[in-house]
Amino acid sequence: MTSAVATPTERLAPRVIVYWLLADGISATFLTGLAWFIGRPIAAEWDKWTPTYEWLLLAACIAFLAVAVLSPPLAFVRWRFGFLDDLLLMRYGILFVEERAVPVRRMQHVDMTRGPIERLFGLATLVVFTAGNEGSAFRVPGLRLARAQELRDRIVEARGDGRL
């Protein structure tokens, strides 16, 4: 029985770290910039504004940026996926660790999505759908394009009916 417990081993493409840094970093920088350079002067007009609030805001901004910088490498370190016979396994999550197992033949269809920045990096995200309302989509991000295609083909082949 323990053989079935085997943890997946394959990692994402390392360049996904740079991609995440860029993609998340842009929005995080924008939001903190907004809060600090526009939000702070406005809030300073408020008569109850004290330096304590200013320090709190600074701390929040720094924490937000730190999360944006630290989470990509941590997420990369945690991410594992792989096939075990007919099962697609995934393990991921920084604080909340999740392990998912999806039988290939339960998959309804497989999508490969590539955002503009993802394309720049030659990356692709594989999205697998099973029947069901809640929790029916499973994403494997940060795959090299060729690998994503391979995986997709493998799933299609394993299903065998070419209906994906």
């Binding site: 007919d86 999550g93 909340f96 660790v97 392990e99 099973t130 929790g135 009916d161």
Partner: protein
Amino acid sequence: MTADSEISEQPIEPATDVRPVDSEVVLARGHLHPAILLLRLLDAMRQSVVTVVAGLALGLPWLLAIAAGMFLLQLGYALARYLTLEYRLTATELRVREGLLHRQERRIPLDRIQDLGFESTILRRALGLTVVLVETASGSGVEARLDALSRSHADHLREVLLEARREIVAAQQAEDDAITGPGTADASAADNSTATASTAADEPEWLVHRSTSKELFLRGLTDLRLSAFVVTGFALFEMADYLGFLTQMSGVARGVRDWFAQFDPVVLGLLLLVLLLVVISFGVITGTVGNLVQFHGFQLTLRGSVLHRRFGLLTTRQKTLPRDRIQRVTIEQPWLRRATGYGVVKADSAGGSRAQGEDTAGGWDVVVPLTRLENAFALLPALLPGLEREHLPWQRGSRRLVMRTTIVGVLIGLAGAAALWSTAGSLALLALLTIPIWALLGILAFRNLAYALGDRFLALQHGIVGRYIAYLPTAKIQSVVVRQSPVEQLLGLAELTVHVAGGSPTRLPDLTIENALELRGELARIAAIAAARDWQTRANATATRPPADRVGESQLDPAAPPAGDRRPWTEPRGDGPAADEDHDRPGGAPPDSSRPL
């Protein structure tokens, strides 16, 4: 996984279309009953009455104009629908055509139709009408709705339709047998189960459960959530607060306050308590009446492999539930029902009426409104065939669960105390009371938590004050997730979530990570095998058939009463300590909270 490699080498049969040539012969046709226009008129009047009254009261003529416009629009729509809607039943499909400007024809192949459901409100019944719901087996629930036909037309349509459907399925089966030969065990099981469903009209109907008035009465009486007390209490508190606020506003209100002030606090408290009881008993009374009306004459029957439910006093409902589609059966016992030894049986199914936006008030998932716990256990095999042969080795969750909730309580308490410190001072320490409360909740949860994985079913028992017991056929599992929050990682705990098609996911909290991973491996393995079997069934049979993933289905003798009646469960099963009240549980007793292991 040897079976899988065989499958992938097999050539895939395209969905075979075995429709006879004479598909254009119309077996039955008809229109809506004209009396429906009367109902629509009443509907339109009822809906515009508020606007009209508002328009008259406020003296706004444009409101009246809007109301008139809406009224005419609705009437026109109803008239157009009545004039254009036509249904036709051919040997292969049911066609429903409607629309004045935008014409559409819906064609529903007969082999996809599970049954016709009837539903009628009191007005429709007075007029001899019934709403016909075309229910399909493919998981999409109600496919079409004919509102409304006369009762005799509806009965005739159903009769002819089921007859035609039976012929089609028989023809398909013959063809499949010709293609696949005697076939594998799986394929023949699939054929048999389809045949069982198809011959439903001929088969005797077995009564699984009939609700007594006492049961329905008790259902209303025990329909009292713990949260209701909290909410009502809070609302009264708010109201008292509001009264206090009002007193500062006007003379009349001041009089009210003075009137209140003449009582001493004890009397005032008692007064509030009485008020609370009044509000709650009002809730109980309306709940009881509501339940009696909604579930009046509730009857659950089994015909072939399809369950039928009939109930209702004002609005009568007839609902079908193909047994193959059941994804989970739950016996729910909130606190009062648990204390009195009663439970509600609910079944989650793929698709089903809920997909059509029907809310829980329609009782879409209720299989038995209320019955004694032992009756509930006894009728489970009628819902989940094979459960009677199942051995369920019940296991407890991890004791560390108490630690987890305590830690959560500490975190909440500390956060609360810190947040309140500046305003409430040392009173903020009261927030630390969350620690013992959460610890107690953890102990209660641990005493109720148990799970078991048998050959074909996963069983789960959980609850804090109430108790909920769920059974899932493992063959229906779509995917399995093991999740660990930071606190759970610290304690080596994990939560396992089982996803099924359509229904809500089932969570097994507070397993040790080792147990969770082992269970996940086992469930994923079963799910993969079941998926392969479903897939093969689908490849062998036509794509429109309901997947049959129970090999044992064919063993069910249609001439025998449902398993729930057949086996009275006189022998305790399983090797757990079986106390008197646990006799009847299929697959052995889950550990009872009164006797911790």
